[in-house]
Symmetry: C2
Subunit: 169 residues, 2 copies
C-alpha cells in the first residue's frame, strides 16, 4: 500500500539505535491483544452480556435488574444501600433502577419502622412469578455457556480463576 508520506530512512541495520522507530525487538515486546488478560476478559464479558441481553429483551430485563431481583428473592428484606453496595451499584443510581421495578409491580420498598430512613426491599407476588420465569430463561442461557466451556467442571475452574483476580492481595 503506497502512501503520500515518504518513508523515513529506516532503522539503520547496524548503526546507532533510533528512538523514534520501533525495532524488531520492540515489536516483539508488544504483546498481541489476544494475550492480554484485561482485553480478553472484556471481550468475553461483552459476549456473555450480549447473549444475556438477547435472551432477556422479551422480558425487558437488564443485567443489573436481574441481579437485584435475584438478591431480593434469596434474601428479602435487605435495604437499598446493602443491595447496592453488594452489587457494586452506587446508591444514587440504584434509585432509578428500583423505581423501575416498583413501577412494574415486581418489587416494593417497605418502610422499616426500626429506622425510618431506610427501606427494606421485597418482591411482590407478581415479582415472585416473574422471578420464576426469569430463572427459567436464565438457566437456558447459563447452560449454553457451560456447554461452550466444556462442562460444569470447566465452569468451576473459570470461576475459581476469576476469584483469584478479584481476591484481595
Amino acid at each position: 500500500m503506497s502512501e503520500t508520506v515518504t518513508k523515513l530512512p529506516g532503522a539503520a541495520k547496524r548503526g546507532r539505535p533510533r528512538l523514534d522507530e520501533l525495532t524488531a525487538s520492540d515489536i516483539e515486546s508488544i504483546p498481541a491483544l489476544e494475550t492480554i488478560i484485561g482485553y480478553r476478559l472484556r471481550r468475553a464479558q461483552l459476549y456473555v452480556f450480549q447473549d444475556f441481553i438477547e435472551n432477556f429483551t422479551r422480558m425487558k430485563l437488564r443485567p443489573a435488574e436481574f441481579s437485584v431481583l435475584s438478591v431480593m428473592a434469596r434474601r428479602p428484606g435487605l435495604k437499598q444501600t446493602e443491595i447496592a453496595e453488594e452489587l457494586g451499584i452506587k446508591r444514587a443510581n440504584f434509585v432509578a433502577l428500583m423505581d423501575g421495578l416498583e413501577t412494574r409491580g415486581l418489587a416494593e420498598r417497605r418502610k422499616a419502622d426500626t429506622d425510618k430512613r431506610s427501606h427494606s426491599l421485597h418482591l411482590t407476588p407478581e415479582g415472585v412469578k416473574f422471578v420464576r420465569k426469569m430463572m427459567a430463561v436464565w438457566t437456558a442461557h447459563e447452560e449454553r455457556l457451560v456447554e461452550k466451556l466444556g462442562g460444569p467442571e470447566e465452569r468451576d475452574r473459570l470461576i475459581e480463576l476469576l476469584d483469584r483476580i478479584v481476591a484481595p492481595d
Copy 2:
C-alpha cells in the same frame, strides 16, 4: 427487623402450593450471584480495568486508546475501519478516539493514494516513544495479575477458557 406491612399468612406448611410466594425449593433454584458466569466475569473485568485505569491515569491513557496504539505499533498501516472492527469499536466512535491520539501527536492518519477514501494509521516518532513507556507500565500491571492468578500457566488456562466462551458454536 419488624416492618409496617404485616406478613401475609405465609406459605401453608402442608397445603396447596402458593404461586405468589417463594418456596424453599424456589429459593434453592435461585443461584447465588457468585456462581453466575456473567456476573463473575463482569466483576473480574471491572477489577482489572480499575487497576489498569489507576496505572494509566498518569499517562492519560484509557483502555481503548491502549488497544489502538498497541495495534498500530504491531501492524502499522491498517485503516480505521480495520482497526475499529478488530477491536469491536464502531467506526463512528473511532473517529474521536483517533482525533485524540492525533492531537496529542502520538499517531497520524496518512492518505492512502490507492483509495482516496481511506486513511492508513501510523504511530508518530513521539508515539513510538510513548508506546515504549506504555508497555513498561502495562508489563507491571499485567505481571501483578499473573501473580494473583498463580503464574503464567494459570493465565494461559484462564485465557483458554475465555476463548471457549467467545468461540463460535
